[in-house]
Amino acid sequence: MTQTTMRVWRGDESGGAFHNYTVAAEEGEVVLDVIHRVQATQANDLAVRWNCKAGKCGSCSAEVNGLPRLMCMTRMNVFPEGQPITVAPMKTFPIIRDLVTDVSFNYEMAKQVPPFQPKPREADGTHRMMQEDIDRVQEFHKCIECFMCQNVCHVIRDHEENKRHFAGPRMFIRYAELEMHPLDTNDRRSLLREGAGLGYCNITKCCTEVCPEHITITDNAIIPLKERVVDVRYDPIAWLGRKIRRR
């Protein structure tokens, strides 16, 4: 068992500071184990959000040594021995307490997504879809809503004012999974362009880099969405079609 110094940010919306805790770390442990040991033995009221401790629920996102990570999937042995490990809350969201942030922004954005509208079932009561046709949507369904992509997205990380009209990478995946769903009949393109702020994204791929599920957010979701939005907006034939139908 080795002793490690954990520098944990503690405080609330009015401010806070890093506190040092010297704590034992056992073989094979992850950052969340050590945070739990601090909590159980030195700071009972240390606030941290977590659920599954297996990388499946996306609750324990934090910034560990400055990088967004799931604490439950970050092994202690990835850090150099003998040096303190810094654990801070996600920066993009308002602080509630210690490592817990107010992520309600994401839930508000989710409410704005126009729902799934399936085409009717086939005569035998089923929907037939080929695996090849759903592979790309299943990639998006892997999202565990850890919101780390939202956290690193510079459109909102450093610009609180953009949150009102920018849904963020997590929601773009959601839009993409609906738009590319073989059964869906709804059209979300105008909302994407106007309300959800797809145009703000300038494809720096920060979101893709941090995704713990390795979803290729930018290449597979955001860029195809941008193409679709552009198509509907600037395609002269589609434009003519709209004009004619309107008559």
Binding site: V30, N44, A47, N51, K53, G55, K56, M130, Q131
Partner: protein
Amino acid sequence: MAEYETHEFDVIVVGAGGAGLRAAVEASAAGVRTALVCKSLLGKAHTVMAEGGIAAAMGNVYPEDNWRVHFRDTMRGGKLLNNWRMAQLHAQEAPERVLELEEWGALFDRTDDGLILQRDFGGHRYARLAHVGDRTGLEMIRTLQHNAVQQGIDVFMECTVTRLLKDGDRVAGAFAYWRESGKFVLFKAPAVVLATGGIGKAYKITSNSWEYTGDGHALALWAGADLIDMEFVQFHPTGMVWPPSVRGILVTEGVRGDGGVLTNSKGERFMFRYIPEMFRAETADTEEEADRWYTDKKGARRTPDLLPRDEVARAINAEVKEGRGTPHGGVFLDIASRKDAEYIKRRLPSMYHQFRELADVNITKEPMEVGPTAHYMMGGVRVDADTQASTITGLFAAGEVAAGLHGANRLGGNSLSDLVVFGRRAGQYAAEYAKQFQGVPRVDDGEVDAVARSALAPFGRTGGENPYAIQQDLQECMHTLVGIIRTEDELAKALEELAALKERATRVSVEGHRQYNPGWHLALDLEPLLAVSECITLAARERRESRGAQTRDDYPKTDPELAKVNVVLRKRGDTVSVTQEPLPAWPEELRKLVEEA
């Protein structure tokens, strides 16, 4: 007087996993004012961790499959202690519930002709589990979550219910606190649906998250409702065993369903030595036949690696005890030598990821080390099969917190189907009850005040017991004395220890203030944890036989008399009474289905 905010609804659903979400969606669609109250953020409930799939006799892979076979498998898996009517409804309605999830946007893996693919699992005669790789629960919870959001259901996230409130004999609401602010909330409602999941955090090694502290079980008990089958705690045979910090994390049964086998340190496929009489006729007795079964369901019998979970957990326990375990005290689960890397990564992506990241094991190259982990509570609130109504008027329960469907042992895959079949029914009947309810439920202000004061008591003490230490001691006690194998002496000792822990819990103190204070939250969670631990121990002592998940070293055989009863627990005054009550009588034609070979 305590300060609290008050909300009035028609139906309150406590818990937002699969059952709670499905209940809320149904109640809301029926046009009643519905609230969903959950301890975590929406979409993080334990359902998210379900891996292998949802059992439904759709017959997409084997057209021979139908609800009767599913019913039979469920009853036999539960050692016939199941509520037959629940098992029937479940088998009949599961396929439509799966199609409904698809209708709401879920994308299950497909067969070659574009239908929902189904996989093999323990105790199911045919490949029956609709799935999405090994993350089926995530698909399900997200689908239901989106649906609930679209309906505009009021969701109270990170809000923990600590008491149900009654108006005479009827439910009148629930008392809760916001985890974020520590402030109190009073919900007034004629109907409450409990969908709080299980009790795994009473055990040291568990696949369950922090939320599983038996809240719904305890809330129902305290409100005077009957609990049944509390002796049946399922230990999933395959949890991770190394490194220590991940001990207990689930390894899906899908590994075996997709071709993986269990071996001991001598390289023996030991399951062939543990085939019980009940399953002998339908289980392969040679490795050759077992391997052939994966592709030939008619000409070969099923592999013993896929016996029901209680059998496999006991077998692993015995192998380790007899010195044939792995270096870290488990057995090997090997798919690497049987399937190619591409197949394993496609079928079991999260298992691949989980072992690589957390244990430095590449499951496409090496075997996994696995051992039993506390996983699922078969017992819980006694409910009416059709309506999910408890024995208290206005109180409903669905999912893991409700009892009956699984009897003495649950089959893998039957939990996700349970959630949607009975979540829907609970929502429907809770809404119906609320609609015909006249007037406003009356809540006793004095009672609310007392509950609030007791919740704040840990702040008033200094230098008292550490809640984390008490939870740790409780987990140790349940693990060593009320675990997989039980005896009269150990159960008696457990009751003594639990009494001492209860006393210590009255002296618990917490530091800091009410805002997002996990120490305080745990102090409050200790109450239901201790209550359910006592119930498990009392019921385990009452059932002096071995059946399903209950293994008594001192009563190793089944007792035909105990095959006819549920163990029922009721709170009367300050004590919990334990009685044996007859199982519901079941129709002859269904009995015949089960007895057929």
